[in-house]
């Protein structure tokens, strides 16, 4: 199936340092780039050459289950890459071609790669169900990288990557805009709690650098406010950094060069504010990059790196919490659970913050992706995204009536509300886990007197 994704033009690609490749040079360039990537990533050869095409991954993939498209079976998706890879890089493929399924590079090869590797959310659930642990996410990352260097990348992601390279955040915000947003949030906090809570930016010689998702300053403001309350209550000397206001790192999803550059900012910005501890905000793949890729990309990270959920859960006993009257569930973002093993902290927080906490089935590392992961948040493929999120919607539907789905990931926060609307579950609210903690926290003279309705429609005693 062709997907209506908008590809970036030559000028936009130049912004992230990629030259467009003309049609007739495509084949030669593609083979060179695959060869380079193969030398760089041993994992790619392993993931491609060991697949026996047993089909065990089919029912593990939310993309296949939601779209019912054969090429969305992880093994079939990887086959699009494997066929070309075997044809030019394996002995059997070079000699026996069709016998081992290794056809020549064809005119539609690149097109099919764009279509199918941008229907994969890199959630890596298939790796869990594969008898050998073959991670098709690794193949997708490789394929998208190769496509990018062939000048085929979604406009949406290229623009975000360019913003990251220039300003350090996805929104492309410069310092005046950041200060303005933070001032607005401080006013909001004062109105809500009656307490003066500061959101410092670029404050020198601070102990903690907080790296939120930049959307937390606009669409998910409650998460930012929740984090501010946490730091305020713990009396931590903290700050945001105007050069690194983004936990996300779109580079991982389509261009590892961008990933490396954006990741580099983490250490530089932490040094600039003199931080000892870097706390990452609610962002799925951002946490995966920071936790798992920093060392490989830019060398040892000289500061302590923790996630806000770990940080808050470790200090949970210090908060004065008033349980919210909600029936809530937790969505395990793929990049927290399967990629970084962050399962228990959000659960501890949830149990302390809501009256009824229910688990989704399946949960933890078996959880389904919401369908918005790996940067597939562009509007033009909204119809496809609803199909990708079908399994998630079914999971949430099974828990109805439900007040709240906690989504500790900025991509999920963008995707799941749309899913709930599409599948007729508007009554269920969404938001972050930190947000819940912020709402349940009793600050100053108490939550109830100053703020009678904490969560629209659901709370209020």
């Amino acid at each position: 199936m062709k997907i209506p994704i908008h590809l970036a033009g030559g000028k936009e690609l130049k912004g992230i340092g990629v030259e467009a490749v003309s049609e007739h040079a495509l084949k030669a360039k593609a083979i060179t780039i695959i060869g380079n990537y193969r030398d760089f990533a041993r994992s790619l050869s392993l993931m491609l050459e060991n697949c026996t095409r047993c089909g065990a991954c089919a029912n593990a993939c939310h993309s296949y289950l939601g779209t019912d498209d054969f090429f969305n079976i992880p093994a079939a998706r990887a086959s699009l890459f494997r066929k070309i890879y075997s044809r030019y890089f394996s002995w059997a493929g070079q000699v026996l071609n069709a016998f081992v399924g290794a056809p020549d590079f064809a005119a539609d090869t690149v097109g099919s790669w764009v279509d199918y590797f941008y229907q994969c959310n890199i959630c890596r659930r298939c790796a869990l169900y594969c008898p050998f642990g073959i991670d098709t996410g690794e193949v997708t990352i490789a394929a998208r990288n190769i496509l990018t260097h062939l000048g085929r990348a979604p406009r949406f992601m290229v623009n975000i990557a360019r913003n990251e390279l220039i300003t350090g955040n996805n929104m492309g915000m410069l310092k005046p805009a950041i200060l303005d947003s933070c001032g607005f949030l401080e006013d909001e906090l004062r109105e809500e709690t009656g307490v003066e809570i500061k959101i410092p930016v670029d404050k020198p010689n601070t102990e903690v650098l907080y790296v939120p998702s930049s959307t937390d300053l606009f669409t998910n403001v409650d998460t930012m406010m929740g984090a501010a309350k946490i730091f305020h209550h713990l009396k931590v000397d903290w700050t945001l950094s105007s050069t690194m206001l983004e936990a996300a790192n779109y580079g991982l999803l389509f261009d590892l060069d961008v990933m490396k550059k954006q990741n580099r900012r983490l250490e530089i910005s932490a040094r600039a504010v003199g931080a000892k501890v870097v706390v990452q905000g609610e962002c799925g793949h951002g946490w995966r990059v920071a936790r798992m890729f920093t060392e490989g990309a830019n060398g040892k990270f000289p500061f302590e790196l923790v996630h806000i959920l770990e940080y808050a859960a470790a200090n949970l006993s210090k908060f004065n919490l008033d349980k919210l009257p909600l029936r809530a569930t937790l969505h395990d973002p793929c990049n927290y659970g399967r990629a970084a093993g962050l399962f228990d902290p959000p659960r501890q927080i949830m149990r302390a913050c809501v009256e009824e906490f229910v688990e989704m089935t399946p949960n933890r590392e078996m959880n389904f992706c919401c369908g918005g992961g790996s940067g597939l948040l562009m509007d033009e493929i909204k119809e496809l995204r609803m199909k990708l999120g079908k399994m998630k919607a079914d999971q949430i539907k099974a828990l109805q009536p439900l007040d709240y789905v906690a989504l500790p990931c900025a991509s999920c926060k963008a995707q799941v509300p749309l899913l709930l609307k599409h599948y007729g579950m508007e009554q269920t609210g969404t938001g972050g886990v930190v947000e819940l903690l912020g709402k349940a926290m009793v600050l100053g003279s108490g939550r109830d007197e100053l703020n009678p309705s904490c969560i629209s429609g659901a709370a209020g005693k």
């Binding site: 041993r42 994992s43 392993l46 993931m47 050459e49 060991n50 697949c51 026996t52 095409r53 047993c54 089909g55 089919a58 054969f70 079976i73 093994a75 079939a76 086959s79 394996s90 002995w91 059997a92 026996l96 069709a98 016998f99 081992v100 399924g101 790796a127 008898p131 050998f132 642990g133 073959i134 991670d135 490396k260 580099r264 530089i268 040094r271 600039a272 936790r291 798992m292 920093t294 060392e295 490989g296 990309a297 830019n298 060398g299 040892k300 990270f301 000289p302 500061f303 302590e304 790196l305 923790v306 970084a340 093993g341």
Partner: protein, 192 residues
């Protein structure tokens, strides 16, 4: 089990179980029986795998010609081996031993004159030739993937002199990638 059975059975001429206290006769009978059972199990499992490939539509569509070829080659090897159990298929084990010994010592010894044995050893040779280039290598590669997946995640802050996740990662971190210093900060050395 099949590989061990072959090595021991041929080496000791079915006498391997005398080492654990069986009589020569019962050792030969046990060896004969175990060989038959493992051979049959292997054949049946291969038939199962081939059937699954043929009847599950999405697996059928995923399969390449070579997938069937590999399975059928393995099944043919197993069947030709079992053929030596059939009436009239008996092979003189001492002459097999001397033939294998000749191969290992690089002193050619004539093949035992038995059709099932000649077919069996030819198919095994084809298998061994094809094996390194085939997907059958997954039986080795699987362990590499498992190792890759089981690598311990990095711990922060990384202790000084501590090897990060793997040798591969540390080599990459230290040698290949020059670490640019955009913002000069004093006291960098102490923190590192």
């Amino acid at each position: 089990m099949i590989i061990f059975g072959h090595v021991l059975g041929i080496c000791f001429l079915r006498g391997q179980f005398t080492l654990i206290g069986l009589s020569a006769g019962s050792s030969a009978r046990l060896s004969w029986l175990l060989g038959g059972i493992t051979g049959s199990v292997m054949t049946l499992s291969l038939v199962g795998l081939i059937t699954r490939r043929l009847i599950v539509p999405r697996v059928k569509r995923l399969s390449e010609t070579s997938d069937y070829f590999e399975l059928m080659l393995l099944a043919a090897v197993a069947l030709s081996g079992l053929a030596m159990y059939a009436p009239g298929g008996h092979v003189d084990l001492p002459s097999v031993k001397s033939y294998m010994g000749g191969l290992i010592a690089m002193r050619p010894v004539p093949l035992p004159a038995s059709l099932p044995f000649v077919v069996h050893i030819s198919l095994v040779n084809v298998l061994l030739l094809f094996f390194p280039f085939s997907v059958l290598m997954h039986f080795v590669g699987g362990f590499f993937i498992r190792k890759m997946l089981m690598e311990t995640p990095p711990v922060y802050p990384t202790a000084q002199g501590n090897v990060p996740r793997s040798e591969f990662a540390s080599r990459r971190a230290e040698s290949h990638i020059p670490v640019p210093r955009h913002i000069p900060v004093e006291g960098q050395g102490e923190q590192r």
